[in-house]
């Protein structure tokens, strides 16, 4: 697994120093950092060191993710797998908001389309899960493109309002329609069987969702490093400049929305199979708002930041609910989120990166002081 997965690949960001702030006021990560890897006398460049750190963080996180269901009481497994589906949605937000700087307050809508599609594909059409899952993601793409149309003219806050309205409209019409989606009764889904192995148990399903998450993260990181990724970053950092250099804004913005919808649709499908039944209230605007709010607080600068979204939405409240009485918990949680946002507008992941940088500087300083001169 490459280091670019959990942290931020240092390659592309180094080029984008000193540009305007994007829609969220976040500079690209590592802005201002000297990452041209000139090796020092000891032979290890800063870039390599940074990459090493990211590998350690990534590897550590993966180890934790694999081991934790065995360390916690069994009923936690369900919370964990719900968290992973949230992380996938968080990833979709990273792709749209972090990569391209577009804001969307209707991710739950994309999730819903994916979930309903998956229910029908595995139910009516009896398609095997491995085929139904990507198709479900694809089904959400046209919806994403539709939601993305306003992005061609709007930015920032206005785009947020437009997508919010889109989500509300879809929920009021399509999701509530009994003929189309089963309305309030919703639809039923089953845990999948892949290659003859049943994933009905929470533990196995957890690992299945984890694998999908990792695949999607790899995919996203790949996109970021590729041509599209550079175009995305250019658009995020300055649309006029990007357009002037020949990048088609419409094409890439719509692609981003489509991509984000795909990921969210896959997340929605996994969510649906996890819950065994979904209905219209699973995908309302309050969910969309929660996802985006938490994702921004968690940070959307890197692919790895998606992990925090899941942690904050699913795991943290559950972990705390034994400690604090129910309502008070929610109050403190909301207040905490606000404080977090005020303190670190670029999100928890950004905070972590800055801490990583601090550690890095400390290591380098020590080396320079002790080793060479």
């Amino acid at each position: 697994m490459s280091a670019g997965l959990r942290g931020v690949g240092t390659g592309t960001e180094a080029d984008t120093r000193g540009h305007d702030e994007d829609a969220l006021g976040m500079s690209a990560p590592e802005q201002g950092r000297e990452v041209h890897g000139a090796p020092d006398a000891v032979g290890v460049s800063e870039a390599a060191l940074r990459r090493g750190m990211q590998l350690v963080v990534a590897g550590g996180s993966l180890a934790v993710a694999v081991l934790v269901p065995f360390l916690l009481p069994r009923y936690w497994t369900f919370v964990l797998l719900a968290a992973v589906t949230t992380m996938i949605v968080g990833l979709s937000i990273v792709v749209l908001t972090g990569f391209v700087g577009q804001i969307s307050l209707c991710q739950a809508t994309f999730m819903g389309v994916g979930a309903y599609a998956s229910a029908r594909l595995t139910g009516d059409a009896h398609l095997p899960f491995l085929i139904a899952l990507p198709l479900a993601g694809l089904a959400a793409v046209p919806v994403g493109l539709l939601a993305g149309v306003p992005a061609l003219r709007l930015k920032g806050l206005y785009l947020a309002i437009a997508t919010l309205g889109f989500g509300a409209a879809v929920q009021a019409t399509l999701f509530s329609s009994k003929t189309l989606t089963g309305g309030f009764s919703g639809v039923a889904l089953e845990r999948p069987t892949v290659f003859g192995i049943s994933f009905a148990s929470d533990l196995r399903y957890y690992f299945l969702t984890l694998v999908v998450l990792l695949l999607l993260m790899a995919f996203a990181a790949n996109v970021k490093r590729g041509r599209s990724g550079r175009a995305f970053a250019a658009i995020r950092d300055g649309e006029v400049a990007a357009a002037a250099s020949g990048i088609s804004l419409a094409r890439y913005k719509l692609t981003a929305f489509g991509l984000s919808a795909f990921i969210a649709g896959v997340g929605g499908s996994l969510f649906g199979h996890a819950m065994l039944s979904v209905n219209t209230s699973s995908f309302d605007i309050f969910h969309s708002i929660t996802f985006v709010t938490v994702a921004i607080i968690a940070g959307v600068g890197s692919v790895g930041a998606a992990v925090f979204t899941g942690l904050m939405v699913n795991i943290l409240p559950k972990a705390l609910d034994r400690v604090l009485p129910g309502n008070l918990l929610l109050v403190i949680f909301s207040a905490g989120m606000l404080v977090q946002l005020a303190v670190a507008p670029d999100g928890i992941a950004g905070q972590m990166r800055r801490q990583q940088d601090a550690v890095l500087s400390w290591i380098l300083r020590r080396r320079r002081v002790s080793g060479r001169d």
């Binding site: 804001i103 206005y158 309002i161 709010t293 929610l330 909301s334 606000l338 946002l341 507008p345």
Partner: protein
Amino acid sequence: MTSLILGLATGSIYALMALGVVIVYKATGVLNFAHGAMGMMAAFLFSSLTLRNLPVGLALLVALLFSAGLGVAVAFALRPLRRAPRLTRAIFMLGMLALLQNLAVSIWGPKVRMVPSLFPSGGLRIFGFVLGYDQMGIMLVAAGLVIALSAFFRLTKLGVGIRAVSSDQDAAALQGINVTRITIVTWILGSVLAGVAGIMISSPAADIFSLTLLVIQAFAAALLGRLTSLPATLVGGLVLGVLTTVPASFDALRPHAQTIPPVVSFLLIVGILMFRSDSSLISRAGEA
């Protein structure tokens, strides 16, 4: 005809909610997603006080003072983010929305609260139905506030200061206007307006979510008013109210009456935003 008048009444509700949003947005650039929730808290407090047999006038005063305090608190909470782009601050208000809702549940519980009306009960019989005094009251208050606020902004020093800050913060600062103070005053104003709207709209029964959801319609109304002009906001609200009420009177659409407001609002929002040539709304490089 009936639905036209009812539409105007509904529209006044939208407009009343939108006024506070527009004022705050103009001066601070923050779109207050929590506007409805702030109004809800004032309404809940008002309800509690009247339940304790406080006279309505006194309860109203206390509730509005509370709203003012809430506005100050929000203004201070936003200070660390004052350099952040609008979207981040709007997201902050989303978080504030969650906080206020959870706070309300913690303090008062989730049940619906009774909110006495500020207006006499009963109404005027016109065109074969009764237009309640409370609905007329909302229409009058909305219109009255627009006039009063417009006068305030034009004639008083504070009002002019807010306008100055709205159009150009830095220039205003250079003119010696204390921007921080103006910001706080603006938030107080917006919050009190939210409280007034919340109390009037919530009667007879207030619950935690409906005002928040109403805010989406209010956004649409505000956008119709180009997010800048109060009279236009009023007109926008009225138009939106009519657009959402009149179609429901046609037989074919009646069963779908409930889906109309969100859909119409959304189409309106997108339509306005997309097809206006007003450059302030078009995406610009680096523009948040």
